[in-house]
Symmetry: C2
Subunit: 576 residues, 2 copies
């Protein structure tokens, strides 16, 4: 899709964000560090509201299916060895031989040569750079060999050197590692979603996209575990419009054909036609669609783009990004939906040596013919004496298939742990047994959101102008300040007293409110509109007589008059 | 105070926490890493509730005084050079020459010799170790020299080596660095509290106290900035009992006399008698007292212990710890209250070269006699030619007092930037000027809470037994699950349908609820009591006829019968 770039709007929004306190670059007094942003008073409150909504959509409304945990940011190296991040969570970089500047090789190539370079190997990228004689974008010097740079922030845990730890780049590993524990706590429920909202860190090479690419940010994500053979039925009735409602999807195969516009599929179609590989993936995409609407975006302003194989993370077999269009950056990802299969649990099972399977109980026990290894201990004992124990336990650790293979040789002996034992000491027999179930590694689909992006996207959408006036049309649920209270004039003690009392009642009720007495009432409305306060209460001369106040709607400027006693419940109902 | 150790209770609580899903040691499948804990489903929800309460007490109820921000966990080295943490945030460690084990030297001495060692220098600790022939507690080997170990987790930001960053050990520096920006956003309001709730990391030597000493945890803290000369009046009417209410305080001077029991002072006394050095410090201590009561602790179970100079952090001139008694660990700190003065802002002003002062406007402009430096440029120009510019700007950078000092010498020349200039080229004159105000660096008091400790403390307090039954008497506001819904029997479709419908209504309303059909109703009550669910709704045969249900109170086992339609508002009112 073509990207409309509205430079002015972006710059105006960034200026507003800084001036009124949504966000700004961190470490300002030390010159700033790229990839780090502070959330100011308004940004922090707004982010909390968005997180509360996410929690409601993904966890509280789904407490029969899902729960939430909190795990550490710092992880021992083993975790990311197992997860594959130490090997695969890398970007290709290239260093200028002259000035020492370091650049992302694929981005450099894409920018200079307008060709796709994502997912290419370092050697290929080096060849492209050499072949096209690309030079350092800073000083024009020659560029070296492309190598990979791991994006994990590295540290040391405790006082002993060598105890390497890394900051997590996603919260997901916390849910995989604790899966068995949580599964037990939840009384072996499956399917089971385990959500987490928390900080992550990615050591980006040179992030330059404001709130869109941060080195440290908050992820809200869920690992949804299910039995691939018996996934269960998602509760489609909980999503807006149910299973017949539509998802905007741009498929990978269409992208390869040059299609740029998404198509609409009902959820049912998307599942039945295999466009989305799992009903649960489709379900959480639909929940994500509903959730993103709460940020003020219409369904037409967002779609799901299926990633190409080279665009997917190492753990995923199918991925959709939910995209939203913003000023300056065009279409950006607000959520990722990955089919992680059994990749992560299998890897952690292998690296930890722990059993991470769940037990799939059959509806009825079944009789199964099973191969079993029979060991004649008497023969082995006689042959090997005190070494027999070792050999027997080695045999026990082998599968029937492995033992069969050993027995296939023409020799009369088999060799175990350096000892020869006669073949008649070991047999593989087929035996009928009653089996109650089997062990399976659950599969996982993951919806994952970057929360700071959601703040940015909602602000970008809400930012509108009426002439010179800025009105931030934030949905009341996510607006950082819910209500403004103004005394019409400040030289009337009674009016001021009433206004202040109403304000204090909001404080007491825990509803974020602002009180402003400075300047003409029009200027005060303007200041409140600019930060998205959806309702403004004004106490005027009439308030003294009939105990009513006016409430002005930000978006329509309509005013209604209501009794002072009704103010708190009126606002509460609108903003919750 | 004497510490009662109830080993059994602690172990029972830890077992419950793990089995039912409050918390457990992280990275379990990899053998665990000390100092890291996961919060499970119940712990995470409970922590959220505690944070919401904190936010209400410290920010939402005080929006006329305070606000909140969110700043990065990873900071460039400069921040902790300025803050003093690189120099001072250390523990003394000693290494065994034989086995290589590393131990906290002061704790080792305190344990073995029963003497106080906190705050002593490494050389002193080495002497004590050698003098008393202390050996390695693991292998009995000889111990080396004591050295300091910095507790900041270290990392590198970006792809260039040498760009050192550290994980913050407190959120506070984020508020100091962004103070000027936030102060401007808040329209130069003073006093101004800037709160933050976020992750911090401390690379403890060998943490072994469960949830009490973590390497990574969440802090909820506020830096409250005020003009030390015009601090303003805290709104004492907002705290429970007002300014006449009491604080339990154990003063440092009493501790030195061997006193172990705190005394009661009204807030007014504490301020007037200088027991607490700032009214704002006393105010936030009172808010903290009120807040901690919400966790289920009575006022008698908590007190403020003034720290001795050697126990205070490097930035503090007075500190109180709010202590709470828990099983196993005795009195533990749940909040720290530090008078940080202008230490942090002054340091950041120095290290950043930015002006971090605020302008204290006088009520009326005043006339002031000010010393001014007068420079006769003609003379300097004549004497120095092209070097004059440099010398003049050097003179301009000097204060009148500095110039006066130079002029005091007997010589006829003064030396500036290696040039001699005649004394009559520079004069210090006294001049009357109208002054509207002056620049001041605000002072800061800081209330700071460790959130995971609050979770632990609240659980420890709530844990009670009635015979073999565990009842977790958590206050409804912080209980992770607010309500349980049970069909009395599961073989009656209508009863099950009604129960399920009530449960789904709770999900829809975003109220954390559980639904349980497993086993006899008594067992279900038991399971709910054990995790602190304050209310249990049972749908029975009567429900089918008159559309009512019973609600059972966890603590009293009292039951009331209410119409099904009233269930949601009834529970909502009790738990919010």
């Amino acid at each position: 899709m073509k990207t409309e770039i509205k430079e002015d709007k972006y710059e105006e929004l960034m200026e507003l964000a800084k001036r009124r306190g949504f966000f700004w670059q961190s470490f300002e007094i030390y010159g700033g560090v790229s990839g780090f942003y502070d959330l100011g008073p308004l940004g922090t409150l707004m982010k909390r509201n968005i997180i509360d909504l996410w929690l409601k959509y993904f966890v509280l409304r789904h407490m029969d299916l899902a729960t939430i945990v909190e795990t550490p940011v710092i992880n021992p190296a083993k975790v990311f060895e197992a997860s594959g991040h130490l090997e695969s969570f890398t970007d290709p970089i290239v260093r200028c031989d002259k000035c020492g500047g370091i650049f992302r090789a694929d981005k450099l190539i894409e920018e200079k040569l307008k060709i796709r370079a994502e997912g290419k190997k370092p050697e290929e990228l080096t060849q492209i750079i050499k072949g096209n004689n690309l030079r350092c974008p800073s000083c024009g010097g020659p560029l070296g060999e492309v190598r990979t740079f791991n994006l994990l922030f590295k540290t040391t845990i405790g006082p002993y050197e060598g105890n390497t730890g890394y900051l997590r780049p996603e919260t997901a590993q916390g849910m995989f590692i604790s899966f068995k524990r949580v599964h037990t706590v939840m009384r072996n429920r499956l399917p089971l979603g385990i959500a987490q909202i928390g900080r992550v860190a990615r050591n980006e090479i040179s992030p330059r996209q404001g709130m869109i690419r941060l080195r440290e940010f908050t992820i809200a994500e869920m690992e949804f575990f299910f039995d691939p053979e018996k996934p269960g039925q998602p509760p489609f009735e909980r999503i807006s419009g149910g299973i017949k409602s539509k998802l905007n999807i741009l498929r990978a195969e269409d992208r390869l054909k040059g299609v740029e516009k998404p198509s609409q599929y009902t959820i049912e179609e998307a599942i039945e036609e295999g466009i989305v590989v799992s009903p649960w993936m489709a379900y959480w995409m639909a929940v994500s669609r509903d959730f993103v609407k709460e940020l003020g975006l219409s369904e037409e302003e967002t779609f799901f783009e299926e990633k190409l194989p080279e665009e997917r993370a190492h753990y995923a077999t199918q991925t959709f990004d939910q995209l939203v269009k913003v000023s300056r950056w065009g279409w950006v990802e607000v959520s990722g939906h990955a089919y992680r299969g059994d990749y992560d649990l299998s890897r952690h099972q292998k690296y930890s040596g722990q059993d991470l399977t769940v037990f799939r109980r059959y509806e009825k026990p079944i009789k199964k013919k099973l191969k079993k290894v029979r060991i004649n201990k008497a023969i082995i004992g006689r042959e090997l004496g005190s070494d027999a124990v070792k050999v027997i336990s080695a045999l026990r650790a082998m599968s029937p298939e492995e033992v069969e293979k050993l027995l296939e040789t023409p020799e009369e002996f088999i060799e175990i742990e350096g000892h020869r034992i006669p073949k008649d000491a070991v047999k593989v027999v087929v035996q009928e047994e009653v089996v109650h179930g089997e062990k399976v590694i659950p599969h996982v689909v993951e919806p994952s959101f970057g929360v700071e992006r959601l703040v940015f996207v909602a602000l970008d959408k809400a930012y509108t102008k009426e002439g010179d006036r800025v009105v931030l049309r934030l949905p009341p649920k996510i607006a950082p300040i819910k209500v403004a209270v103004f005394p019409l004039v400040t030289n009337d003690e009674e009016i001021v007293r009433i206004a202040r009392e109403i304000y204090e009642r909001f404080l007491e009720a825990g509803i974020a409110a602002l009180y402003d007495t400075s300047g003409a009432i029009g200027r005060r409305y303007y200041r409140a509109d600019e930060i998205g306060v959806p309702y403004a209460i004004t106490v005027d001369h009439k308030s003294k007589e009939d105990h009513t106040v006016t409430i002005r709607y930000r978006d329509t400027r309509e005013q209604v008059r209501i009794p002072i006693g009704d103010v708190i419940p009126w606002i509460t109902e609108k903003v919750r």
